[in-house]
């Protein structure tokens, strides 16, 4: 996942050109936060290339300018050219990777030909290995380090007012702290967790895909069937929440924009889900090995065979993998929410030894797997940094 921000110069000052895509709030938030971090690093400014309405947020500590007139046209052209060049590079990389891959396959056909002299076959083998290394050389890593520092983005008062009116129309008022809940977990578990949150004094807004079998009740506003659902609604909901409980990576990334604590539940991939900021928590699903019917350990979820299987299912569209998943139980989720609340109250100053040990394990596993898995290279540690967030304590304690 790469940022769409383009770095240029205006006179002597570095300028980061950005065209936020409001229809993709998660992508937009990652772009903005990484651009702000980069601008702070270089002492530059962010220049927004907006087609429609003005930006609904502001960034503290970084000058944000909106280009107009001829300047806008020029900067737009620069931005488009830079992105086109980036796309071209990516395309070329793909073509080169494909050619290298096919080249390797052709070489392999000859390597096994015992009519060829041994030395030549050895040479062909080393050429094939070389092309293999070239294929797996480049990936776009998720910019974890750029997202690390708490962002200084805040929503504009006009936007807050406008969206608040929308939410009030749906029954969400200011009286109680809000929790945004997004999950397709078993309805009975979701129900118990939502009841717990309501009992603890929260108002809950449920978003995400509509879920057949879900029953709404007092204190919970179901926005899943709201149509049309403007993307800004999710953005506001997240930023107005005391914390979010989510299952999708998009929502977790949206929370980075306004530093909202996030609890990611039922994660299957410890690298993708690992929270970047200290106010992030995650829980992992229980993975079951479908050959042995045994639940695998969290340590096993950091191994190459596990990722190979996950990759086959998610990327190559295999209908069946070697692993099944059990959602987190009600008790586990309530434990996680309790830990989240304690973390918010304590300012995320402490973590258990098992949690920091798990982080080290993830970094080590990521470094080892990045060489063989493009997926881990993309989502794993960014230059040795996986995140300041943590795995929930009860699961971290289970990791030997």
């Amino acid at each position: 996942m790469t940022s769409t921000a383009v770095e240029t110069r205006a006179g002597r000052h570095p300028l980061l050109l950005l065209r936020p895509d409001f229809s993709q709030p998660a992508r937009c938030s990652v772009d903005l936060v990484t651009a702000a971090a980069r601008a702070r690093e270089t002492g530059g400014a962010i220049c927004l290339l907006l087609d429609g309405p003005s930006m609904p947020w502001s960034v503290a500590g970084v000058p944000v300018v909106t280009a107009r007139g001829v300047q806008r046209l020029w900067l737009s052209a620069v931005w488009r050219t830079a992105l086109a060049a980036r796309d071209l590079r990516a395309w070329w990389r793909d073509v080169a990777a494909s050619v290298a891959y096919e080249w390797r396959r052709e070489l392999r056909r000859h390597i096994g030909d015992d009519r060829l002299p041994f030395e030549l076959r050895q040479r062909l083998r080393s050429m094939a290995e070389l092309s293999k290394r070239r294929v797996s050389a480049e990936t776009n890593a998720f910019p974890r380090r750029m997202l690390r520092a708490p962002s200084t983005v805040s929503l504009s008062p006009d936007f807050i007012e406008q969206t608040r009116r929308q939410l009030t129309a749906h029954g969400i008022t200011d009286g109680k702290p809000l929790v945004t809940f997004e999950s397709r977990t078993r309805p009975d578990i979701a129900r118990a967790v939502l009841e717990f949150l309501v009992r603890e004094g929260y108002a809950v807004a449920r978003i995400g895909d509509p879920d057949d079998g879900f029953y709404s009740y007092d204190g919970v506003t179901d926005l899943t069937r709201l149509a049309p659902r403007p993307p800004s609604l999710e953005l506001f909901l997240v930023s107005a929440s005391a914390f979010i409980v989510c299952e999708s990576i998009d929502l977790q990334q949206l929370a980075y924009l306004t530093n909202i604590p996030s609890l990611m539940i039922n994660a299957r991939d410890p690298f993708v889900a690992y929270p970047v900021r200290a106010n992030g928590l995650m829980t992992l699903s229980t993975a079951v090995d479908l050959d042995t019917a045994q639940a695998i350990t969290i340590t096993d979820m950091l191994t190459q065979p596990y990722f190979r299987d996950l990759h086959k299912q998610q990327v190559r569209g295999r209908r069946r993998g070697s692993h099944g998943y059990r959602d987190n139980t009600t008790e586990e989720l309530i434990d996680a929410i309790t830990e989240m609340r304690a973390g918010i109250a304590a300012g995320w100053t402490t973590e258990s030894e098992s949690q920091s040990r798990f982080r080290t394990r993830v970094v080590e596993a990521g470094a080892a797997l990045a060489a063989v898995s493009a997926h881990v290279a993309e989502w794993g540690p960014d230059d040795g940094f996986i995140g300041d967030g943590r795995l929930v304590r009860f699961q971290a304690d289970r990791v030997s």
């Binding site: 096919e102 052709e106 392999r108 056909r109 000859h110 030909d113 057949d212």
Partner: protein, 598 residues
């Protein structure tokens, strides 16, 4: 005694015809079963052994081995599957023809799913697409859409199919067995090679028939590419499918009923309800619903749905529904995923038989029967267990869920269950489904009548009291008694067209690898370059082995010659020098004497 040769894809198809085969054998026919592939996923090979042991008139054997199976074809187009030394393998002419045959048949199957009746069947189309190399799907994805081009391509494919020669192995096999009747099932597998049996039978003048094994065979798989002499189907709906979708003339179709379900009419429970409930772990005091799992194509990820279903039941607020027991019966070929299901999380729910139970184990069928017999209703996504439930008169339910749309609305056979005259009450949401359960668990006379009508139409079209197995056996016997058709050897134009067809076959064999076009363009120059370099290596080797020692020897000889000659020359020179010296000295003395210096 007459000979019937029954060619099956694998021994798993025995279960559809077991009773009919027994009946034919008991009537004095010699039944030879030939299996194209052996399969032991669900203990099918054991079933074949058991069947062969049951009667001296039944013989089971493997069909002749093929140069290239459909599986080989698919593996070759797998992007990661090129093996070292692949080019060293000698590729026979025959392999190329088989590759062409598989390609042509897969393309025909692919085009089929562009027809208007399959507009919702994108997953079925995707299933063929995965098997075809990309080079074809890229072209056909565009060219296959208009009806006119589809017709042209199909006509061309039929022409190509005609010139593909029959396999010598199959011809010989049929000649040796010399059957009075050749039965083939299922024939309609994607890219099926069983077509070659029909072609060989036509060539040799052997009467052939396709036995349609299951209810979805004619709609969710491939085409009958070369028509056999007869087609045996379950019911009028399948007869209609055979005519409209596969172009089988109506007078070649025989409706026999679904012989595979006959035993469901005769079976009785193997134990009492209390015993059964105690065995499976349900409360005997309450009625239970049977959830029947579907195949992997229909429901690859069924567990989350089943969990939502159970939760909907438990939280329905209707005592009759919320307290009902739930028995989950995984599909035998899709059971592994149920390891992730935690039945303990739900009261009065159980999975039975336990995941991984061998379908050939003692009591497996009885368990299934008891599960349906004692259930208050049967729920499933889209599975033949719903037909079995209709035979026992149980209310049957389904829920149309977006995640299974490809396996419900996306298949034609689902309409027999849930369409007009169907036997399944289909809900659009779990809430509606709960209402259906609440109303029908009470007992529904209209539902019973609906079941009976469905069974009469779909399972026993000759009458509810007339088992299909004897009708099937009689139909087979009647076909056997018909005079054999005239042998149809290859015509002159077919034999002539085979000459250029060879290039087509070679191209199909190469393209089956599914590589980018530039690879084929580059392959020959690359091979040439590698072999040129290899020649260099060989020359170096030859030089090292032979040239160098010769040079060395020659050098040594030269050196010796030079040495010896130089020695000789030196010696001569020395001697000459001495002689010269002597002569000089002599001359000097003579001169001195001459000049009188002394």
């Amino acid at each position: 005694m007459s000979r019937i040769l029954f060619v099956m894809l694998h021994p798993g198809f025995i279960r559809y015809y077991e009773d009919a085969i027994h009946l034919l054998a008991a009537s004095g026919h010699e039944v030879n079963l030939a299996f194209e592939i052996s399969r032991d996923k669900l203990g099918e090979d054991m079933t074949a052994q058991r069947l062969a042991a049951s009667s001296p008139n039944i013989h089971c054997e493997p069909a002749p081995e093929r140069t290239e199976s459909v599986r080989d074809f698919i593996i070759r187009s797998d992007r990661t599957a090129t093996r070292a030394g692949d080019q060293r393998r000698q590729r026979s002419d025959h392999e190329a023809w088989e590759s062409l045959a598989t390609t042509v048949r897969l393309i025909e199957d692919y085009l089929r799913f562009f027809e208007p009746e399959f507009r919702d069947a994108s997953t079925l189309r995707g299933r063929v697409e995965k098997r075809l190399p990309r080079v074809y799907t890229q072209v056909l994805g565009v060219a296959g859409r208009p009806q006119a081009t589809r017709r042209i391509i199909r006509a061309a494919l039929r022409g190509v199919e005609a010139i593909i020669p029959t396999a010598d192995g199959i011809d010989n096999f049929l000649r040796e067995r010399n059957p009075d009747l050749l039965l083939v099932t299922p024939l309609i597998e994607l890219g099926s090679q069983q077509v070659d049996y029909i072609k060989s039978a036509r060539k040799l003048g052997i009467r052939s028939a396709l036995c349609v094994a299951s209810w979805d065979n004619l709609t969710s798989k491939g085409l009958i590419r070369v028509l056999p002499d007869h087609v045996l189907v379950w019911n009028e709906a399948q007869a209609q499918e055979a005519t409209t979708l596969h172009g089988v003339p109506p007078d070649c179709i025989t409706v026999t009923g679904a012989q595979t379900f006959d035993r469901w009419f005769a079976m009785r429970p193997s134990r009492s309800r209390e015993d059964f409930c105690r065995t499976v772990g349900l409360d005997p005091g309450r009625p239970f619903l049977l959830y029947t799992g579907s195949s992997v194509f229909i429901a690859p990820d069924e567990v989350p749905f089943a969990e939502r279903w159970l939760t909907a039941l438990r939280h329905s607020g209707i005592p009759r529904v919320s307290e009902v027991g739930a028995l989950i019966r995984p599909h035998p070929a899709n059971s592994r995923q149920w390891y992730a299901f935690d039945s303990a999380a739900f009261a009065n729910a159980a999975v039975w038989p336990p995941v991984g139970t061998d379908p050939n184990s003692h009591g497996f069928k009885e368990d299934f029967f008891d599960s349906v017999y004692y259930s208050a209703g049967v729920v499933g996504i889209n599975t033949s267990a719903q037909i079995e439930a209709s035979i026992l008169g149980r209310p049957i339910f389904t829920v149309r869920s977006p995640e299974f749309a490809h396996g419900q609305e996306g298949t034609l056979h689902f309409r027999y269950l849930a369409g007009d005259g169907g036997v399944v009450r289909a809900a659009t949401s779990l809430a509606e489904h709960v209402q259906h359960l609440a109303s029908e668990l009470e007992g529904d006379a209209a539902g019973n009548e609906r079941n009976r009508e469905f069974v009469r139409r779909f399972v026993r079209p000759h009458g509810l009291d007339r088992p299909a197995t004897p009708i099937f056996a009689r139909a087979v016997d009647a076909l056997r008694q018909l005079a054999p058709p005239a042998a149809r050897p290859d015509s002159l134009w077919v034999r002539t067209a085979r000459m250029p067809g060879r290039s087509l076959a070679a191209a199909a064999l190469a393209l089956a690898e599914g590589r980018p076009v530039w690879v084929y363009v580059m392959r020959q120059p690359m091979t040439l370059a590698i072999h040129t370099v290899a020649l260099g290596y060989r020359l170096t080797d030859q030089w090292q082995a032979h040239g160098r020692p010769v040079i060395k020897r020659m050098r040594r000889v030269a050196w010796r010659w030079w040495y010896e000659s130089s020695q000789w020359l030196g010696h001569r020179w020395h001697r000459s020098k001495k002689k010269l010296l002597r002569m000089t000295r002599g001359a000097r003395g003579t001169a001195r004497r001459f000049v009188g210096l002394r």
